[in-house]
Symmetry: C2
Subunit: 112 residues, 2 copies
DNA sequence: ACTTGATACCTATTATAGATAGGTATATGG
DNA sequence: CCATATACCTATCTATAATAGGTATCAAGT
């Protein structure tokens, strides 16, 4: 019984990297942005995103900078070059995999 | 370090249901068929498929019949009507989710 | 006859990730 | 002053795939 659909593996990571490709963002903002850009179809909570951001930073895919903003402190994340490469790789994986499955779901199987 | 790509959640279940939509199949056959129809892009091993088949049967999505074939005993699985409904639901979920993510990956985010 | 590899079934354990459900602190609006 | 939103965090649970075995039968080759 999950709020999100059951095809989530790797998706939060992919979306975080994609969002950060355009501009730096902070965690709380990312949580809201994912829900917004997917029209609530995918909406991982803070309990998913914050640990993920920490892991990605540890892996060197993101750079974190704690910075005061609007009276409070935010942690802004940017993509490293390694993070950009990971985004491309994951996007390729994602595209290849979904294309194949789409094909299996829609097409006649004997033709394969 | 997994053999399969990292977007696997729910995919084996979806593919098993899809394959059984066309005709009855037995476990070992399903393992090979998934690898075949996906061109090895998705290739879950027996350790994934057999427990999954047992679970789906327990849920009433599949019917299992042990039957001798070619000198040995095979367990043939067929979709129940509940299994058909599940296939449709999961296919809808899959399509909705991948369409949205595809859009986010390719499109400009400000347009959303 | 013996051995190897393919067929066909199975499960126990481990690893990974998302889900759940909290907690802390500051700022803002009523 | 209080409630809500903002902004960060983590510990635990759960679901599911990956790993790594095991058993037994059959067919083919030596």
């Amino acid at each position: 019984m999950s709020a999100n659909p059951s095809f989530m593996s790797g998706v939060p990571e992919l979306l975080v990297l994609r969002l950060l490709q355009d501009r730096e963002m902070y965690g709380y903002e990312i949580v809201a942005a994912i829900a917004a850009v997917t029209g609530q179809v995918v909406a991982p909570k803070e309990g998913v995103i914050y640990p993920l951001l920490h892991d990605l930073e540890k892996e060197g895919l993101l750079r974190a900078q704690r910075r005061p903003a609007g009276g409070r402190t935010r942690v802004y994340y940017t993509l490293t070059s390694k993070g950009v490469r990971r985004l491309f790789d994951l996007t390729d994986d994602w595209t290849r995999m979904t294309r194949v499955i789409q094909h299996v779901l829609k097409g006649p199987l004997h033709a394969i």
